[in-house]
Symmetry: C2
Subunit: 304 residues, 2 copies
């Protein structure tokens, strides 16, 4: 995962300058789009993110602020002449809605659109470099978060050392995999003398919307970047409970148990024109915290 770009991090009621949930994970030159609130296609343009690079879309649940931008985005992809396959993961009802809309607008989708129903916790995607799993959240309607786990990355070649040891070019992949090198004299040179440690593999958790249940942190073991909703300040705890949301303090309490390198707060109630108090509340318990905001870019390689 190279970076996370926040397109929107408001909650259901739009506030000025704030947009409903949508975000892009850039991974291996492609984009994973997570949630797709109304206006997401405009946000993608504003952030110069090509529609065509989106290969996978993950939708958490069927509250409008998490998916209403999807039919328009698909329609624009079609108008732009897309040919690349598109994979959509979401509640079965999402496909009901999209199919009805396609039928009523007499739309022909000319690229391969594969819908994958998410109805339980399972592995959704498993590639050479990453796995994506659904994790059950606790909300008014069925809702899933997503856990994106990078696999161990190849070790990095130490240019100087391989030159001195005379390692031939064809052996570099073996070095990246951790093998030792045996030179022409039959001497075994240990891998660690020829390579540097691989870059950190990150695990990113997207959790919105969620009323945190006991033991929820166990689902997040190993998470390095935790994106969690914090709709309210803790003085609105009763409202948070009633609406199946989380307070900033509770998000920080969760982070204390998971201990990620970074906690990202989000999904702010429209009542907060200034969201800094949410940050302050979380910081008391968990200092490695930032606020999501529109156009925020988080580079995974810069998080430690």
């Amino acid at each position: 995962m190279e970076k996370l770009v926040i397109l929107g991090c408001g909650s259901a009621l739009p506030a000025s300058g704030r947009h409903p949930t949508a975000q892009v994970i850039e991974h291996n030159g492609k984009y994973f789009l997570i949630d797709c609130g109304e206006g997401t296609q405009s946000r993608l343009r504003e952030n110069s993110l090509s529609f065509d690079k989106i290969t996978h879309i993950f939708i958490s649940h069927l509250h409008g602020d998490h998916y209403l931008g999807l039919p328009g985005l698909i329609s624009s992809m079609q108008l732009l002449g897309r040919t690349r396959e598109l994979n959509i993961y979401g509640p079965p009802g999402l496909w009901e809605i999209l199919s009805l809309q396609f039928r009523l607008s007499n739309s022909q989708i000319s690229f391969e659109l594969k819908f994958h129903a998410v109805e339980e916790e399972r592995c959704l995607l498993d590639t050479e470099r990453i796995t994506v799993r659904s994790i059950q959240l606790n909300h008014r309607i069925k809702c899933f978060g997503f856990l994106l786990q990078e696999k161990e990355k190849p070790r990095r070649i130490n240019g100087e050392a391989v030159k001195n040891a005379g390692v031939p070019h064809f052996f570099m992949e073996n070095l990246r995999r951790g093998e030792d090198f045996i030179n022409e004299k039959g001497e075994q040179i240990p891998n660690f003398q020829l390579t540097k440690n691989s870059k950190k593999s990150h695990t990113y958790a997207f959790c919105s919307d969620n009323r945190i249940k006991k033991d929820f942190h166990k689902k997040l073991e190993g998470v390095t970047v935790l994106y969690h909703e914090s709709t309210f300040l803790h003085n609105e705890l009763e409202r948070a409970k009633r609406t199946f949301h989380t307070t900033a303090q509770e998000a920080a309490e969760l982070a204390l148990e998971v201990n990620p390198d970074l906690l990202i707060l989000s999904h702010y109630s429209a009542r907060y024109h200034d969201v800094r108090p949410l940050l302050e509340e979380a910081k008391i318990l968990f200092p490695k915290v930032i606020l999501a905001e529109e156009k925020l870019v988080v580079n995974f390689s810069k998080i430690y």
Copy 2:
């Protein structure tokens, strides 16, 4: 009708700075919303137009750029605690889509939401001051335009004259209706000496999307303000025919037959970064023409 506010006038593929079709007619202190493309609720906010004042919504057809903003707008009205009745006029399929979305998001709408299916040309609304009729357009899927016709307005009191003639206050409404006044001496003072002509009654036609058919102008008799799509320049006539759209020249030819006080071009293809050539093309045939653009406000009282 006091004014028309353009919220969006692009076509299906969003272009930078351009939004999909939506517009508000302010009438008698309330708003009629015509079409509701994605992002309309953000546009309403940008133009400081209160959601609560929207009493009637008219949707032309089920291409996404004309209705995808509606579910989000209704959801926001609900979250804002609306109690006022809302009337929606549109294709029967629109209600299918909305009902499915409400059901899957487990939404309870607490205000009265009345859906009126538009399946033919008919009178949709008839109040003391205005009628709204659907008019059949010619598009790839079933599509209706809307004709908003103001009834004759009351005559305006001539303050000086009624004072001189000693007309009592209670008689003013009779004067506005055109009655003569008989004074205490039994003299009949003709209405025209006590009143001024009423303000002009406008008829506004909203026509998007439409491949103009022969005799279409007959549906627009008496129209004073004609809003008509002009997706393409005339050098794209073949494309306009294929996609069931209109060229700027054709919109002007229609205006020549209808002879409104004002023609408003709109629904520009995303290929035109600069839309002025569309205006130039129309102007040659019909000079009383302007370009719709986001945030344009047309005051009906200033059109002659």
